[in-house]
Amino acid sequence: MLSFLQPEFLIQRDKDRCNSCGLCVKQCSFEVHQHDKVKGTVLSDETKCICCHRCVTMCPTRALSVRKNTLAFRRNSNWTVKAVREIYKQAETGGILLSGMGNPEDYPIYWDRIVINASQVTNPPIDPLREPMELKTFLGRKPERVDIDANGNLQVKLPPQLELEAPILFSAMSFGSISFNACKALAMAAAQLGIYYNAGEGGLHKDLYNYSRNTIAQVASGRFGINIEYLNACSAVEIKMGQGAKPGIGGHLPGEKVNEEISKTRMIPVGSDALSPAPHHDIYSIEDLKQLIYLLRETTGYAKPIAVKVAAVNNISSIASGIVRAGADIIVIDGFRGGTGAAPTRIRDNVGIPIEMAVASVDTRLKNEGIRSQVSIIASGSMRNSADIIKAIALGADAVYIATGALIALGCHVCQKCYTGKCSWGIATQNPDLVKRLNPDIGSKRLINLITAWINEIKEFLGGMGINSIDSLRGNRDMLRGIGLNQKELDILGIKAAGE
C-alpha cells in the first residue's frame, strides 16, 4: 500500500563537515542512516526519523541537524496536519494509535497561570544560604492526637511513615518499560538523596534489592513479580488503580520485550505478553479496595505505608475520600499530563483532568470532611521544575512524584516513541546494545544534580515567602495567586486572583 505519510522531520547533513565515518549509522536505533557503499557516503531515510537527537549529539564533526519537515498542507484550522496524518496512519494500519510520554496537547497548563508570593517589608524573607530550611517530609497516616509524657517522649504509636529528605519521589516505572540501567540510576539516586523511587509493576530485579529500603513496591492488576519477599523488602507498597496517561486502561508489555532478565523479574516465560488488565479483578468497590489494602498490611506486618494510586478524573475528590476511608496511608493522584511508556494516543490526549485542579479539590474535600490528616497526598503528572512543585504543595500535596523529568535528566528527548523499545538513549529499551548507552553511575549523578538543584530552588522559594519549613507551605494557598483564570477555576484551585 502506498504510504501517504511524508517524513515528519528532515535530516540536514552538512557535506563539508560529514566525513562519512558512519557513527550515525551505528547510533541510530531507528535505522535512519545507511552507508551508500557505491558512493562511500552516508544517506538518511528520513521517514524513520523520530527526532531523538542521538545522531546529532554523537556526530563528532557536528555535521547533523534535524529540522521539522515544513511540507505545506493547505491551511486548515480544523483539519490540522496532525489530524490528517493520524488518519493516514490508521487507514494504513487499522491500528489503535499508540504514544509514549504524557499528553502533549494544547490544554491550559495551570501551573503557568499561578504565581507565588514573597515577603516584603513585614515578615521578612529568610536567606536559605545562611539559615536552616526544613524540607524533611513524612508520608503516611498521622495520628488524630499526639500525647507526650513528662520526658518529652511520644506516647502515641505512629502509623508507619516514609521519611524523605525532600518532598520528591521518582514515580513508578517498571523494569520492562525502562531498562535495568535506568532503574539502577533511579535507585542509586534515590538512596543517595534520601528519597524513594517506585519500581512500578513488574517486580524488583535481584540486583536492585540493595536499594530496596529506598524502593516502593507496586501492586497492579497483573500482579507481576509480586511475592512476599519483594513486598517485605520495600519500604512501602503502592496499589496502582490507574495512571494519568491512560485512566481506565490496562497495560501491555509486548512479548518481544520480555527477555531473560525481565522474565525472571516478572516471573513469566520469555516472550510472553505481560498484560495488566484495566481493573483489579478483586476490586469493584471501596470495600474491595479496603480488602486489598488490609491484605497488604497483613502481608507486610503493618510496618509499611500502603499507597493507592489513581488517575485524576471527574469525581476525583469523592474517589479520594473513599480511598481514605478504605484505609490508605497515601493517595497518589496522577494528572492527565502524566507520562507512560505506551498509551493509546486518543486516551492519553483526551481522558482525565489536570493535576492542579485534582490536588486542590481533593485537599479541599478531605479537609471539609475532617480526614485530611489521615492520609498523605502525592501529586504527579507533571512536575516540570521546582516552581511546579512549590505550587503543588501549596495547593495541598504532601509530596510530588516525578518521572518524565527524571528521564529527561537521564537523556530522554521526549520523542514519545518509548513503546517501540528502540530508545536510542538506553532508557525505554531492553536491547542490550542500547541499554549500555546509559551508564547508571553517570545517570544517577545527573539525577542527583537535578534534584539537588530543585531542592535549592525550593529553599529559595520558601525563604522568599518567609517560611522555613515545607510543612508551613502545605495547603497554604494564600501563597498563590491566579493570572488569567476565571472565577470558577480560581474557586476550584482555592486561590485568589493576582492583586486580590
Binding site: 489503535i96 494509535l97 513486598l231 501491555h252 513469566i268 516465560p269
Partner: protein, 244 residues
C-alpha cells in the same frame, strides 16, 4: 496438633496464633472460623492447617508453602497471588480463586465462582494448578498466562453447564481441561480447542490422583474423561491491535 479457637478472634489475631503455633507443631487446627479474612497470608513454613468453619476472603493469599485444608466452603479470592503450597476446599469456592497465582495447587471438591484462575501465570518449573470438582462460573481462566485449570463436572445436575460463558477470554498461556462439553458460544475469542495428547494426561495425572485422594473419588473413573482441552491462540492476543 495445636488447636486454635478462632471464635471472637479477628484475622490479625488468628494469623498471629498460626505463626506462634507453627513454631511448635506442623499441624494446626483452626476451629470456629467464621468469615475472618486473610487466613494464612504469606505463610512460608511447611505447616498443615485445617480449618473448621467458613474462612473469609483472601484465604491463603501470597501463600508460600503450607497446606491449608478447609472442611467447608471457601469465599472469594482464595489463593490470591499464591506462590507455593496447597489449598484443599471440601466444598465450594467463590469468585477469583487463584487470582494471579504463580505456584502451588488448589483443589476444590464442589463448584467455583466467576473469574477463577484469572491471570494465573507460570515461570519455569513453577506451574500453578486449580482443580475444580464440579463446575465453574463465567470468565474461567480469564487473562490466563500460564498454569493448569481443570474442571471435572463430577456432580452436574440436569441442564447444568460445566463452565460459564467467556471461558478463557484474554488467555495467552497455560491450559484449561474441561471434563465435559464446552459450547462454542462459551469460549472466549482468544482460545481454541486442542486434542488431548499423552503429555496432557501426564500433566493431569498427579493432580487428579491428589484430587481423588483428598475427596475420595475414583481416579480411573475421572481420567476417562472425555476432556476438552483449551489453549490460547497465541502468546500475544492483542499484539496486532496497535499501529506502531
Amino acid at each position: 496438633m495445636i488447636i486454635v479457637d478462632s471464635r471472637n478472634l479477628n484475622f490479625r489475631e488468628i494469623n498471629e496464633q498460626i505463626k506462634l503455633a507453627a513454631q511448635k507443631s506442623k499441624y494446626i487446627n483452626l476451629i470456629n472460623v467464621n468469615g475472618q479474612r486473610y487466613i494464612g497470608t504469606g505463610l512460608s513454613s511447611s505447616v498443615n492447617i485445617t480449618i473448621e468453619g467458613l474462612p473469609g476472603n483472601d484465604l491463603a493469599a501470597f501463600l508460600n508453602g503450607p497446606r491449608i485444608t478447609v472442611n467447608g466452603n471457601g469465599q472469594d479470592a482464595i489463593a490470591n497471588t499464591m506462590n507455593a503450597g496447597e489449598v484443599i476446599i471440601h466444598g465450594m469456592a467463590g469468585d477469583t480463586a487463584g487470582y494471579a497465582m504463580r505456584g502451588g495447587s488448589v483443589y476444590i471438591s464442589g463448584n467455583a465462582g466467576y473469574r477463577v484462575g484469572i491471570h494465573m501465570k507460570e515461570y519455569k518449573s513453577s506451574i500453578p494448578a486449580i482443580i475444580i470438582g464440579n463446575k465453574a462460573g463465567d470468565f474461567l481462566g480469564e487473562y490466563m498466562a500460564g498454569g493448569i485449570v481443570a474442571v471435572l463436572g463430577l456432580n452436574l445436575g440436569k441442564g447444568d453447564s460445566i463452565v460459564g460463558n467467556y471461558c478463557g477470554t484474554g488467555m495467552h498461556g497455560g491450559v484449561i481441561y474441561v471434563r465435559g462439553h464446552v459450547g462454542n458460544h462459551q469460549l472466549g475469542a482468544e482460545v481454541v480447542r486442542k486434542e488431548m495428547k499423552e503429555n496432557d494426561y501426564k500433566k493431569l495425572e498427579p493432580l487428579l490422583r491428589k484430587f481423588c485422594s483428598y475427596f475420595k473419588n475414583d481416579y480411573k473413573d475421572i481420567v476417562k474423561g472425555p476432556f476438552t482441552k483449551l489453549v490460547s491462540v497465541n502468546k500475544r492476543p492483542y499484539g496486532s491491535l496497535y499501529a506502531y
